[in-house]
């Protein structure tokens, strides 16, 4: 195990003065022939799971295999919104734990993930959405989560650029206000977990594609990768948009369809928007990064695909909707658009837990909202591997719920995913 010097302001200064190089954030390794656990997918879920396996349970003979570079999937393409004001009891409890983990993640990982709790505001443009906001607020309050319905005057105070005037089509009638919500630097989360996991002995294999899973009498015995075979008894599928393809390698079928989700940023301007703003009716949300760019997101594309190309319609619709909310930003310019893949489940809830194949676990179904769940999912999945059974927080999200018919009810409130 390599020891790494800690990052701090002091170290920045001494390195700056001595101009000595920083040590590597993670090393490259040969592929070992055996690992206790093979995690497929080097996104936030795979890397967090690896980190918590090593840190909380001392399981360090772990490989993360990633077909491209780490964070190349959804984890490097998302809009990085973190919140816990979910609609269901199971959902809000689970995400609340993640927010708590995010709050201390920088010091846990000794890597500043730049979690900015600027508050998260979901606008209501009709009395029916106001009712849904109240529903969420009431459920959240009963879980001890800071969440409340606020008035247009309070909205104007928090976000002066919003048009709260008597606006005919999408009047702003109120909002669900969630102060602990915010944004995080997605790459930093990925790198922070990777660096901390690597320091504990985890092998991170980039440019290493999983091409097969060896199953004997319903038990995992190993995997095949583009760089050779690995024997292992435990495989965790953390591949989000590709997860049904990986599951199929083990003969497991998942109720998942993959759809593109698009996002875009503008050129930077001086900061004017503090909270994260979401409008379900307008299918859009926006935040301003500390660099000054507005980051926009929307709903998933209405078709299934593995292509990550953006469409023109996404940008024209998005701009129209954005100007409904903030008419003053018409002369800001859209700089870049992109798309990522989302693994959508029928009930907009994740699938976490064991499968019919012994040793093959899934942590998938993260759809449009899974970045914020990285820490709690990693922690819970690691505990499940160590304890041999899913804990309370993830119990409701097992694959068997689709056989039992106990779906989670986020669909009602997760219309614009993020």
């Amino acid at each position: 195990m390599t020891r790494r010097p800690r990052f701090s302001a002091w170290k920045l200064i001494t390195h700056g003065l001595s101009r000595s190089p920083w040590p590597k954030v993670w090393e490259q390794h040969e592929l070992a022939s055996t690992y206790d656990v093979v995690i497929v997918g080097g996104g936030v879920h795979g890397l967090a799971t690896a980190y918590y396996l090593a840190r909380n349970h001392g399981i360090t003979n772990v490989a993360v295999v990633e077909k491209s570079y780490i964070g190349s999937g959804g984890s490097g393409r998302n809009t990085a919104i973190v919140r816990s004001n979910y609609l269901t009891v199971e959902g809000s409890r689970f995400y609340d734990r993640s927010v708590k983990l995010y709050e201390r993640l920088a010091s846990d990982l000794n890597f500043n993930v730049m979690f900015e709790q600027r508050g998260h505001m979901t606008l209501a443009h009709s009395d029916s959405s106001l009712r849904t906001m109240r529903w969420r607020a009431e459920v959240n309050k009963l879980q001890g989560i800071d969440s409340a319905v606020i008035s247009p005057a309070e909205i104007k105070e928090l976000a002066p650029f919003l048009d709260t005037s008597d606006h005919p089509r999408y009047p702003i009638l109120g909002a669900l206000w969630h102060p602990p919500g915010g944004i995080v630097r997605h790459d930093a989360v990925v790198w922070g977990y990777a660096r901390a996991a690597a320091a504990l002995g985890v092998h991170i294999h980039q440019e290493t594609e999983l091409v097969g899973i060896d199953v004997k009498s319903d038990r995992v015995v190993g995997v095949q990768t583009s760089r050779g075979p690995i024997s292992t008894s435990t495989v965790i599928n953390c591949t989000a948009g590709w997860s049904s393809l990986i599951a199929a390698m083990a003969g497991v079928s998942l109720p998942i369809t993959t759809r593109p989700l698009q996002a875009a940023v503008t050129e930077p301007v001086k900061l004017f928007l503090h909270p994260v703003i979401v409008s379900g009716s307008l299918h859009t949300y926006v935040s301003q990064t500390v660099r000054g760019e507005l980051v926009f997101g929307a709903t998933v594309d209405p078709f299934t695909s593995y292509a990550t190309r953006g469409t023109l319609e996404f940008t024209t619709d998005l701009a129209g909707h954005m100007l409904e909310l903030m008419p003053a930003i018409g002369n800001m310019r859209l700089l870049r658009q992109w798309a990522g893949l989302c693994d959508m489940t029928p009930d907009y809830g994740p699938i976490i837990g064991p499968t019919a194949v012994d040793g093959f676990y899934v942590d998938v179904g993260w759809g449009t909202y899974g970045f914020k769940a990285g820490p709690v999912a990693g922690e819970s999945v690691a505990a499940m591997i160590a304890d041999g059974k899913p804990g309370d927080l993830i119990g409701p999200f097992g694959l068997d719920r689709f056989e039992r018919g106990t779906l989670t009810a986020e669909k009602g409130a997760a219309a614009v995913g993020h």
Partner: protein, 938 residues
């Protein structure tokens, strides 16, 4: 005239007879018409246009194009204006962005002193402790955000969209693009030719006399061609599937900008090359500029870019710059020929270049350093078309490699040549494109024929030395202040792929999107990891090619607003508007409870025009109804209507409404107002994918009819005064429909139904007569006390009756058996949408139920969404609807509760949003009022 303005130049684009005045940082300046902001400033001797993002270093013109990373300024309300592209207008207020307190004295420049500590990603390594200070750190970091300022009072100007269907669209109006457009038009194609600069010509515009002559000829040929539409100061921003091309037209007379959405049968990319900066110490000092920038300034704007110059040249462009500068009276202190291995290692100076150090160690005093070290191919549109350009080391740039059949490239994307060779290539490409466009039947199918062998000549490439970085470190990304050292350090730290290194250092993330720096970044990173990345990678570009204003993307008329034809009456009568999806409806006219009492005791009318209406005809309509609704339809007689509920395939309730049989093969389906579009899609989807052989014709007629519900004990009397249709209770019973004439209007249909729980007739009249009928009802009902009522009164009445509203009393998981309509769900039907899931729901049990609830304290109305909790505060259900009932004079609710709590008489606790709790009881019947429905059947 300023000493920097030259005598008239042969290719100049300024009009010296017209001066334009403007301000720069509050000071008044003058330029000429045709000047850009940057050229006018340069003519006035202003060299510093901006401060850099991180270190706040002084920056001056680099590329002198739209894509100049150093020339972003604030113009009035508008941030991030490209000063080297934006043409000067009278009275413009221009200022530097992101400087404090001013451009000349910017205190944030102290960052330069601490730059060793601001290594790439420094913020990831600090600001972590103590945690309590993190919000403060965030504010500090936020102060350093880049760019200009947005004015909250800014009102968007007018923007426009236009759709176009050219045979051939040419992106790029240099010689190759112009020739391609001419040849395509001559071959019979309709052509749109798009050029980013304010005039056609590309590099010919600032070329020598021969270039200007060639340009004049090309322009004349284009003007002679009526089939070519030229768009200048316009940019092809994106190419999407099937040649769906977006063009931003900036130079518009009546609107700010226009987005052209073009479906081109064939696309020709002639976007040429961008000149690449060289990386060396001091390469960002004001006065260091590219050869094309120096030539633009002298030849287009007649501005002398400096007094004494050093020129580093590796190609004809650098050589030509030497000649141009000499002509302009710039003293050429040194020419360094990179083809002979000479190079620059450092430029230094306080506010701009003062000294240049070359590779022999020689120091030369100069205030201008011009570099011409190579080209970056403008491959963005090719990428968007699926091309993976490959690096050609001989030419030291990427070239197009493989394109789909509906895209061709010409000019610098393909190779080099004399103007004549470029024109010859462009012409051949234009002809081939026109020929291919003719083979296109439908644009989504694309062209079918390849170019014939030899149809397009090959363009060779000129040999060019590979030059990216000198022996010293300098800026790779000017917008983001990323140096070559930063890229090397990132690789050393373990960010070992170009993707990780770019993300870590933020190279390529700025407003120039890597156009200027991407290739240098690849080269430097390759150097760091000891592999030539240029050989193995390609550069990928995502749309848009150039940033687009949000206003332009949005266009005008962004969101339709729908009103019923009766809206003028509602407005005259002070209706309070309610937003219901796209519709604006009257919520009430002052006192909704009074409206309820008027309906229950006499008669009222409500405008229900937004109700979805789908006209269904054909012999197989009953099969369709049988399939999409959970209840039975096969025996519906002519003249009858029936209520139906639709479930999605997961058994979740998606819509409800009544459908009537108006004639033998003619049905009218109604849907909820919000569900109309979704139901239409749903039916169409089944008909197209599963039952294409069925004889069903659907027409959406929501807007075709205005709909008015006449409700209350006196409704028969009122409607009877306006129609000959026999309304007798025995001959026109509950849940029946009739067609006929009402208030003199033919082609009406009316059905007798009762959402409000009263005797009522819903009259559907051709929309143009909606207001007429409404006013007739008001007039003829005057003595009956007819009252207009709004959505609120209707909601109260339906709640009194216990009717649920889909989406309010149901949610994304409410399946059919959860809402008390078990009687309607016919599991003995062979099949219907959602049946397997509903069968499973029933078998499984344990699902929430919709029940009527009344609070013990009749004055407390629990707000909708109040939670029903048990003693340990566990959630057991929620209030879905609640109102004060004027009829019962008490509070009434509908609620979803856990199965075990659904029995009549069950006691509940409701947690109100204010934190208090009220006790309540589940009612035996879902209807609070008239559960037997006697009032409906009179």
């Amino acid at each position: 005239m300023s000493r920097y303005r030259l005598d008239p130049q042969p290719g100049e684009v300024i009009d010296r007879s017209k001066t334009v005045s403007f301000t720069w940082n509050g000071r008044r300046y003058e330029g000429f018409e045709g000047d850009t902001i940057a050229s006018a400033l340069a003519a006035n001797g202003v060299r510093v246009l901006s401060r850099s993002f991180k270190y706040h270093r002084r920056r001056g013109l680099l590329t002198a194009t739209y894509h100049d990373p150093n020339a972003m300024v604030q113009v009035g309300d508008e941030p991030n204006v490209r000063a080297a592209h934006q043409v000067l207008n009278e009275g413009m207020e221009v200022s530097a962005q992101n400087v404090w307190p001013s451009l000349s004295l910017d205190l944030k420049a102290v960052n330069q002193l601490v730059s060793p500590f601001l290594s790439p990603g420094f913020y990831y390594k600090t600001f972590m402790a103590p945690r309590a200070l993190w919000p403060w750190y965030q504010r500090v970091l936020g102060r350093f955000a880049a760019g200009g300022v947005v004015n909250p009072e800014h009102h968007s100007a007018e923007y426009d969209h236009r759709y176009a269907h050219p045979d051939v669209l040419v992106a790029g109006g240099g010689p190759a693009g112009m020739a391609a457009a001419i040849a395509a038009a001559e071959s019979g194609a309709s052509v749109i030719l798009v050029e980013e600069e304010p005039a056609l010509g590309g590099h010919l515009r600032f070329g020598d006399d021969g270039d200007l002559q060639a340009l004049a000829n090309l322009r004349a040929a284009i003007e002679a061609q009526t089939a070519i539409e030229v768009m200048t100061d316009a940019v092809v921003a994106g190419r999407y599937d099937h040649n769906w091309v977006s063009v931003v037209q900036r130079d518009m007379a009546h609107v700010e900008e226009r987005l052209v959405l073009a479906r081109a049968k064939h696309l020709i990319v002639a976007a040429g090359t961008l000149e690449r900066p060289y990386v060396f110490k001091g390469n960002d000092l004001p006065g260091v500029m590219l050869s094309t920038a120096a030539r633009r300034l002298t030849n287009l704007y007649a501005v002398k870019p400096g007094d004494k110059a050093v020129v580093l040249t590796a190609n004809q462009s650098g050589d030509a710059a030497v000649a141009d500068l000499e002509r302009a009276g710039v003293e050429i202190a040194a020419v360094l020929d990179a083809r002979n291995g000479e190079t620059v290692v450092e430029a230094s100076g306080r506010k701009g270049v003062q000294t240049v150090v070359d590779s022999s160690g020689k120091r030369t005093d100069a205030d201008l350093l011009v570099t011409a070290i190579g080209w970056t191919t403008s491959t963005a549109l090719l990428n968007m078309a699926g091309d993976r350009p490959v690096y050609e080391s001989r030419a030291a740039r990427f070239l197009s490699s493989s394109l789909p059949l509906n895209v061709l490239a010409t000019g610098g994307l393909v190779g080099d040549g004399t103007t004549d060779q470029l024109i010859e290539h462009g012409s051949a490409v234009g002809r081939a494109a026109a020929r291919r466009a003719k083979t296109v039947k439908a644009t989504w199918q694309g062209a079918t024929s390849h170019a014939a062998p030899g149809e397009i000549p090959t363009l060779d490439v000129d040999d060019h030395p590979e030059l990216f970085r000198s022996t010293t470190h300098g800026f790779v990304d000017y917008s983001e202040d990323v140096t070559s050292k930063d890229l090397l350090a990132a690789a050393e730290e373990g960010y070992d792929s170009i993707e990780l290194a770019k993300r870590y250092t933020t190279a390529g993330m700025g407003p120039i999107q890597g156009k200027v720096e991407a290739v240098n970044a690849l080269a430097v990173h390759g150097e760091a990891i000891g592999a030539s990345l240029l050989e193995t990678s390609t550069t990928t570009w995502r749309p848009p090619y150039a940033p687009i204003r949000l206003g332009t993307l949005a266009g005008r008329n962004r969101e339709p607003l729908r009103h019923s034809p009766i809206q003028p009456w509602h407005e005259r009568h002070n209706a309070k508007p309610l937003v219901a999806g796209q519709w604006i409806r009257p919520d009430h006219y002052g006192d909704p409870e009074a409206e309820v009492r008027a309906v229950r005791s006499g008669v009222g009318i409500i405008d229900v025009s937004p109700l979805g209406k789908i006209d269904l005809r054909g012999t197989d309509v009953p099969r369709l109804l049988e399939f999409v609704y959970v209840n039975k339809w096969s025996k519906l007689q002519v003249g009858k209507v029936r209520y139906g509920v639709m479930c999605a395939e997961d058994g979740v309730i998606m819509d409800d409404g009544v459908t009537g049989r108006l004639g033998h093969d003619r049905y009218m389906m109604s849907t909820t107002s919000g569900g109309a579009g979704g139901v239409w899609n749903w039916l169409d989807d089944w008909l197209q994918t599963s039952f294409p052989e069925w004889d069903v014709k659907m027409t959406a007629v929501t807007d075709g009819y205005a709909s008015i519900n006449v409700a209350g004990p006196n409704s028969r009397e009122l409607v009877g005064r306006l129609t000959e249709i026999d309304l007798d209770a025995d001959r026109f019973g509950y849940m029946e429909v009739r067609t006929g004439t009402v208030a003199g209007v033919t082609d009406c249909f009316l059905w007798r139904i009762g959402f409000t729980g009263e005797l009522s007739y819903e009259i559907h009249v051709p929309a143009g007569y909606g207001l007429w009928l409404w006013e007739n009802l008001i007039e003829f009902g005057d003595d009956l006390g007819v009252t207009a009522f709004g959505v609120e009164a209707q909601r109260i009445m339906r709640l009194e009756k216990g009717h649920f509203i889909v989406g309010q009393d149901t949610d994304g998981l409410t399946q059919g058996f959860g809402v008390g309509i078990d009687w309607a769900i016919k599991m003995d039907k062979p099949d219907f949408a959602g049946k397997p899931e509903l069968a499973w729901q029933k078998e499984r049990g344990g699902y929430p139920r919709l029940v009527a609830v009344q609070t013990d304290d009749p004055t407390v109305v629990p707000p909708e969404a109040s939670q029903i909790i048990d003693a340990s505060e566990k959630i057991k259900g929620r209030i879905t609807s609640s109102r004060h009932s004027p009829t019962l004079e008490r509070s009434i609710c509908l609620a979803q509760v856990e199965e075990g709590l659904a029995q009549g008489g069950q006691r509940l606790n409701i947690r109100l949003p204010d934190g208090t709790t009220v006790a309540a009881t589940v009612m035996a019947d879902q209807a609070h009022f008239d559960p037997e429905g006697t009032r409906l059947r009179v």
